[in-house]
């Protein structure tokens, strides 16, 4: 990852909510806003945003992806920073948009400039804003799943863990193979559901062996998949997005409820 100049407070940040947070888990959006504001940012939520275009990109529809990507860049490029509570969507905006426009003059340079503004939430907090502590308290034994796109496209690994360690009362316990895929893969989970089921079962076994109260990750796709499997298996382990814990916003029910 390139070196980032540390910017002082009151940076103008646009929140890329992500379609899954918008639809399934608004709390993650509000938690992101709180974390950014607590760190001194002015947070904007452009109302014209919809989705990053990843479903089209991974289904082979380059034209639809380009249309959607142009829309995202146009809406967001005027902000100093663009932050998403998802390694997958941030990776799409930061890495894949550049690939998408590589052979299109004007848009290739716009996509490149845009990419330099885009960050995943925990990476932005720690690496750009220099946050080391959050004001949060949660008495819980926690394990953290590394989402693939965040881990391998954006090097998100230590950032959420560093912040979690500052949460009062929280203890972090690593599971086996935390870097292994959970089997979500977008439409993969439905198109190849048996294989996806095998992979997520390995994941939930590794989670169960760690005996946590709470599973955290930075991507809602993985979280819906893992929570869905854990609850299908009758597990008592609760599931939340890491931003909810860091923002001290765990009053509401966890993902897929509580037993």
């Amino acid at each position: 990852m390139s070196k980032i100049d540390k910017k002082g407070p009151s940076s103008k940040v646009a929140l890329f909510v992500t379609c899954l947070v918008d639809l399934f888990r608004p709390t993650v959006g509000f938690a992101s806003i709180k974390l950014l504001e607590d760190a001194g940012c002015q947070v904007h939520v452009p109302v014209r945003q919809t989705c990053c275009g990843q479903p089209a990109w991974n289904s082979g529809s380059r034209k639809d992806t380009r249309d959607i990507a142009k829309q995202v860049i146009t809406i967001f490029e005027k902000y100093e920073y663009v932050v998403a509570p998802s390694g997958s969507c941030a990776g799409m905006l930061k890495v894949h948009y550049q690939e998408l426009f590589r052979d299109i003059p004007e848009w290739d340079s716009r996509a490149e400039r845009f990419a330099s503004k885009v960050f995943e939430l925990t990476s932005f907090l720690t690496e750009v804003l220099g946050v080391t502590n959050v004001k949060a308290k949660l008495n819980s034994r926690v394990t953290y799943h590394d989402s693939c796109a965040g881990l391998r496209e954006l090097n998100i690994s230590d950032q959420p863990r560093k912040l979690l360690k500052s949460v009062d009362g929280l203890s972090l316990h690593e599971m086996n193979d935390s870097e292994a895929c959970c089997g979500f893969g977008g439409t993969f989970a439905v198109k190849y559901s048996e294989i996806s089921n095998f992979i997520v079962t390995e994941k939930t076994e590794n989670i169960e062996r760690t005996e946590p109260d709470l599973l955290l990750a930075g991507d809602l796709g993985c979280l819906l998949n893992i929570a869905g499997k854990l609850k299908y298996q009758g597990s008592k382990i609760e599931v939340r997005h890491v931003a909810e814990v860091l923002a001290n916003m765990c009053e509401g029910k966890p993902i897929a409820g509580r037993d």
């Binding site: 918008d22 639809l23 608004p26 289904s59 249309d67 439905v190 559901s193 996806s196 609850k231």
Partner: protein, 474 residues
């Protein structure tokens, strides 16, 4: 080999239900990954070597014609012959010709995936020539009438009980009550039988891990030494290799082999690394009288200059499949042709057509671990996506998927309708989730709910709540 890649889904289902296969696959899940990881940590310059290896192959592929012709000249200078084969039919024809001239009845074989690619064993057998696989794994699956399920560990789908049963069935000249509990005993038994074959075979066929343009040599890396006996003992040695195996110099070869074994088995170097250059010279104590190289293209040259050309950097270490969650779940046979795992998902459509192998690039979560471990830094997920694009362009995607995607993309471009739809969906799903916040069954999403519940949305969408908050002035 019969292609069953289009049955990937049912192949995969069978593989998931196969208890024996699942227990055998634990070897892939546990051993390969930890061994590679240790080998990488033990060599601080490992990642720098990967960059060098990539640069060497990129350079070679840019000048492939030059290096291939140079290689041919060197082979001829050393007394050998190069045969160019455009496809499998030509390659088989060339080999048959050499067999006839040699009057070969038994052919020993070192491990070669190109041999699988051109279905050589079936072809030789149909022409009354007995092919004998001499790599232990290949020997076992040949007895069982199977194809390799992994490019470096062809019998990784089997466990010791199955090998024992197979040996009892095949080696009928030995006492049925002989002790066969230890892997070493089985190995000794296979070795004993193969020794005889090495001595009787008139012709030996090996693959090649690399071809060196500078010297006209071929290199094989093995852990059993069977390849050496295959290429030294028979009167005629045939090297069967594809055109992408070429590297310019011995120095280049030395660089790339440093990442090969580490990525494959976690070894620093394989037990044997054997170069062969031409037939036996006057001063040599052993070696074949004739040395042939069959150079196969089979669609590779048409990958050059396309979005798939980087695939030709592949050195067949198998790290991508070892680390692939899909390969780990279903094993290699489900992929339905010679090359499984992520490298197969890219290469198979190139070689046999995306119409036949369309499932393979789709059966990936895009977790990116294959690219992360590839010693040659091949962007495998990116190329799988390129295949998906080709499929989309050629209307090979099921019409229902296409329609859903078009509808979703249209909505994503029409913000107001998108808000209306997501708002409605969030509310309906939330109601359906009830107090438990779980949806157990959902029409259109059976693939999901068959194995998991669907967590229900919290209620209203973020955008709606956010607007409400703005109106209230926070």
């Amino acid at each position: 080999m019969k292609v069953s890649s289009s049955n990937f889904k049912s192949n995969a289902r069978q593989a998931l239900d196969d208890k024996q296969l699942q227990s055998a696959l634990n070897h892939v899940r546990n051993n390969f990954i930890s061994k590679r990881s240790k080998a990488r940590l033990d060599l601080p310059e490992f990642d720098a070597l990967r960059d060098n290896a990539r640069a060497i192959k990129d350079h070679t592929l840019e000048h492939l014609d030059f290096y291939l012709e140079h290689y041919e000249r060197k082979v001829v200078e050393s007394g050998g012959k190069v045969h160019w084969a455009a496809d499998a039919v030509e390659a088989r024809g060339i080999i048959m010709d050499i067999c006839r001239k040699t009057n070969a009845k038994t052919v020993t074989k070192g491990k070669s995936m190109i041999s699988e690619e051109i279905s050589l064993n079936e072809f030789l057998a149909a022409n009354s020539i007995i092919p004998v696989e001499t790599d232990l794994g290949e020997y076992i699956i040949q007895l069982r009438g199977e194809n390799p399920s992994h490019i470096i560990a062809p019998a990784v789908h089997l466990n010791i009980d199955q090998v024992r049963d197979e040996f009892r069935k095949a080696h009928t000249h030995l006492s049925p009550n002989r002790p066969m509990n230890e892997p070493e005993t089985l190995l000794g038994e296979a070795r004993e039988i193969l020794r005889g074959k090495f001595l009787t075979a008139e012709l030996g066929i090996t693959g090649a891990n690399f071809l060196v343009a500078e010297t006209g040599s071929s290199l094989i890396v093995t852990n059993e030494g069977n390849g050496d006996l295959t290429q030294i003992l028979p009167r005629v040695h045939v090297v069967l290799a594809s055109i992408d195996k070429i590297v310019p110099t011995l120095e280049d070869l030395a660089q790339i082999t440093r990442v090969l074994a580490r990525s494959a088995t976690g070894q620093e170097i394989t037990v044997y690394s054997t170069l062969s250059t031409g037939p036996r010279r006057k001063e040599d104590e052993d070696g074949p009288e004739e040395y042939h190289v069959v150079l196969l293209d089979n669609g590779r040259s048409s990958m050059l200059g396309t979005e798939f050309s980087e695939m030709l950097r592949c050195i067949r270490c198998g790290a991508c499949m070892n680390h692939c969650p899909v390969y780990q779940a279903v094993g290699g046979h489900a992929y339905g042709w010679v090359y499984p795992g992520p490298m197969g998902a890219v290469l198979t459509p190139s070689l046999i057509g995306v119409d036949k192998a369309g499932h393979l690039p789709n059966a990936s979560t895009f977790c990116g671990r294959c690219e992360a471990v590839c010693p040659m830094r091949i962007p495998l997920p990116k190329m799988m996506r390129s295949w998906r694009e080709r499929e989309f362009e050629q209307h090979l995607v099921p019409p229902a998927h296409r329609k859903n995607l078009a509808l979703w993309a249209w909505l994503a471009k029409h913000r107001r309708l998108y808000r209306l739809t997501t708002g409605l969906a969030a509310r309906i799903l939330a109601i359906r989730g009830g107090l438990s916040k779980r949806i157990n069954k959902l029409p259109m999403a059976e693939g999901w709910t068959k194995h998991r519940i669907l967590p229900a949305p919290e209620g209203a969408t973020f955008m709606k709540l956010y607007r409400r908050r703005l109106r209230k002035g926070r």
